[in-house]
Amino acid sequence: MELGKVWNDVFDRVKTWARVNSPWVLHFNSGSCNGCDIEILATLTPRYDVERFGVKLEGSPRHADVLICTGPVTLQARDRLLRVYEQMPEPKFVIAVGSCAISGGAFQGCYNVVGHVDEVIPVDIYVPGCPPRPEAIIDGVAKLLGKLQTPAAARPVEETVI
C-alpha cells in the first residue's frame, strides 16, 4: 500500500517534469481575423523561438497538452471548439490569445458570434492585445509553465462527454 503511494508520487512528479519541459500546443482558430494566428506562428520562428522552452506545435488534439485559442467563437466553430477540447487528454490547459478570445473584442454583437472563449471552455491564461505581441504570447506560455509546476494546478479530471 505504502509502496503504491510512493510509486504514484514519483510517477506524478515525472509526469509534471515532462509536461513542464515539453508542452505540446494545439492551435485552434474559432473565427479570428488571422492577426493573432500569424503572431502565434511568429513565436515559433527564429526570432522568438518558443521551441527553446520545449514548446511544440502539434496537429492532433489527442497529443496536445495546451490549447491556444484565438478569435471570438462563431456559431459554426463552437461545436468544433468543444469537440477539440474534449478530445484532448487530461490534464489540459487553455490559453486565450487576443482581445477577441478574451471578450469578443471588435466583434461583440455580431450576429454569428456566440461569445468569447471562456463562455465555451474553461481558460487558464489570458493574453490581451489586438493582436498581442509575440513576446506577450511567450510570457503567457511561460506563466502557464510556472503554473504547471504544481500538480495541484491541474483541474480535477472531469467526466468527459465524448
Binding site: 492577426g35 463552437r78 450576429y111 454569428n112 489586438c130 493582436p131
Partner: protein, 396 residues
Amino acid sequence: MSTDGSLSGKRFIVPIGPQHPALKEPGHFSFTVDGEVVTDASVRLGYAHRGIEKATESRNWTQSLYLLERICGICSHVHALAYCLGVEKLAGVEVPPRAQAIRVLVAELERIHSHFLWLGVAAHEAGFDTLFMYTWRDRETVMDILETLTGNRVNYSANVLGGVKFDVMPEIGDTIRRGLEFLEGRTHHYLEVVTTDQVFLQRTRGVGVMSLEQAETLGVVGPTARASGVIRDIRVEAPYAAYADYPVQPVLAEAGDLEARFIVRIKELFESYRIIRQILDTLPVGELQTRMPRRVKAGETVSRVEAPRGELFYFIKSNGTDNPERVKVRTPTLCNMASVLVTAVGHQLADMPMILAGIDPCFSCNDRTVVVADAGGAAYNWEQIRHYGIAFYQGK
C-alpha cells in the same frame, strides 16, 4: 459529384478540417480519392464567418473602419484602404497627395510582409521547413519597419477617413531603405532557391497547372491569375490612391503551375521595393488629413484595390446618416477558391496542401455572407436568415 472509375468500385472521401495540421485556419475540404489520386473535391467554408458586414450597419462610419480592418489580420491595411477610398468618394472629400502616397507605402510594405508570410507557409506545406524558418526570420525586418512606422505589427490602423494618421519622417525613411536593402538580397536568394532546388521543384513544377483559359473562366485574381498569364492587377488597370503617380509593372508568368506562382510572388517583391524607394524619394509635401463630415451624403459606390492576394472589392451604400446602410465585401480568396477544386482533380492527395497554399488562401477574409434562397426561390431577409442559421446549428 463525379462518378468514379476506381478499380474496386468504392469511393473514399477524405475529410480535411476544420481543424487540421495542414490548415492554419478553419475550412473543411472533402477529397474523393481513388487510391492516392483525387477525383473530386468540395469545400465548405464559413467557420470564421462573424457577420461583420451586418455589424457595420450598427456602427458609425469611423467605428466601421476599425471593424473592417479586422476582417483580416494579414491584409488589414487594404481593407481599411478600400473602405476609406469608397467613403471619401461618397462624401466628395479630396485626400491630400501626401496621405495618398503614405497609403501606398504602407500597402506595399504590407504586400512584402504578406508575400514573405506566404512563402514561408507554402514552403512549410511542401515540407521545406528550413525555408519557412528563414523567410519568417527575414519577415521580421519588415514587421519592424511597420512597427516603427505605425506603432503596431499587425492591424496598423494607418488610415483614417480623409487621410492617414502618421507622417513619414526622414529618419524612418533611412530605416526603411536599410531594411529593404537587406530584404532585396534575401529575395534574390529565395528566387534562386525556388527555381533551382531539385527536391522543391518536384513539389511545384507542373503541379496544379491552370491554363490561361481556365484562369479566365474561373475568374481567378491576383498573383494566382498572373501566374497563368492573365494581366489582372487593379494597381495597373484602375490606379487608386497614389498608384497613378507610382506606376506598377505587373509581373507575369506563363506556366500556371505552382512554381510560376512562387516566381510571380517573389518577383512582385522587387516591384514593391522599387515603389517604396520611389515614394520615399519623391514624397509630396502637404497635409496628412482633410476634414471628414460626420454624415456621408446618400449614394452608393464601388471601390476596388489590389490586396496581396488579388482584387478586393467593396460596395458601400449610404443613406445620409452617420452609419453605413450597406457594406459588401468580396475578397480575393473567394474568387480563387474554385480554382483549387478544379486543379486538385488528378493530383495526389499529398499535393493538396500545396495546391491550396498556392492561392494563398485566407479564410477569415473569405467567410462572407451569400444570399440564401429556399427551395421555392424566395430570398430570406436578414432576420429570417439569422433564425434559420441558429436553428440549423442548434438542431445539429
